[in-house]
Amino acid sequence: MPQRAPDKKHKLGGQGQAALWLGESLILALLESNLLEIETILEAIDIVIGAKKAKAAKDNAYVCRAALTQLASISASIAAAKATSNQAGVEPRPRSRQRRSPS
């Protein structure tokens, strides 16, 4: 049976989740490559949390609160992102992938 097309709410939720997961994955990739400091990212997330809190007081409180929950979880998770790779003999991932040469 074909799946029903997602309604607007689910579509927006899917877009939000995709953006959030992509953003977090990119942050973790940059941290693993030593291109970013954890403190810098945590500070950036704190700024977003502050902005969301301010917005929650004015309008869109439900969405803002949901966003704050997600941001708090991401912040706690990223705080634990310091790699042990060198202790365990695991090489960090390469900083960039080899580009394909233009054909």
Partner: protein, 240 residues
């Protein structure tokens, strides 16, 4: 050189037989017919009154707490043969929920009956106290990990703790592989990371062939020693 210890070897030799007898007596006093649970069934509701102590006969359960904004912490995992809900002796309400992660079965005893039995038989009282001490030891381990360990250490310690607990329960194959009936979200909720972060760490563990999780099965690969090295700083004397 590190000495290989097990939970059993840490237990004082002079109380081992008493503990064994206490557990036997407690189990004998429990309901003969087990309560059967399906995956997702709630055995104890969060913040509601509860009056029973359980012995898990089969399956996996978890204790978890959900915050008002929806964040969730899986506090501890329960495996077969463990006695659970001892705090009902002291507390009218349970602050956390206990949920079946797999089909499970558990026998139970009313806390008053357990108290009465414990007052008559010191071995039962001692076993109840020992189980609380075991739980506290595990919670201390996770307190250290959630407070001080990074994501890799947490995930490595989590996978190895379960390996060691299952091996202690007699699951001889757990040294090489074991079924893990948790979703990536539940793993993340237990070790205080997001699912994205768990996914990335798992991928990092898979590349040098330390461990892999496929279809709810943890498979230890050729370089499991590296995983053990990662976990070691945040493991206790027992290796959990």
């Amino acid at each position: 050189m590190a000495i290989a210890l097990s939970a059993a070897s840490l237990t004082r030799p002079d109380v081992k037989s008493l503990l064994h007898r206490g557990k036997t007596e407690l189990l004998a006093a429990m309901s003969p017919t087990p309560e059967v649970l399906q995956r997702g069934d709630i055995l104890v509701q969060m913040e509601e009154p509860h009056e029973f102590i359980y012995a898990i006969e089969s399956g996996w359960l978890s204790r978890s707490r959900t915050l008002p904004d929806g964040r969730r912490q899986v506090i501890v995992l329960f495996l077969p043969s463990e006695i659970r809900g001892i705090k009902t002796i002291f507390m009218t309400h349970q602050p956390d929920a206990i949920e079946a992660l797999t089909p499970a079965s558990a026998r139970r005893i009313h806390y008053k009956a357990a108290c009465e039995l414990a007052s008559r038989d010191f071995a039962v009282a001692l076993h109840l106290a020992w189980q609380l001490a075991e739980d506290e030891r595990r919670l201390h381990n996770w307190n250290v990990r959630l407070g001080r360990a990074n994501g890799e250490e947490r995930l490595a310690a989590f996978l190895l703790e379960l390996r060691n607990r299952l091996t202690a329960l007699g699951v001889s194959s757990a040294g090489a592989r074991y079924g893990l009936p948790l979703t990536q979200q539940q793993i993340a909720d237990h070790i205080g990371l997001t699912t994205v972060h768990v996914g990335r760490v798992l991928r990092r563990f898979g590349e040098p062939e330390m461990v892999d999780i496929r279809s709810n099965e943890v498979v230890f690969l050729g370089n499991v020693r590296l995983l053990e090295e990662i976990a070691r700083p945040v493991q206790d004397l027992v290796g959990e």
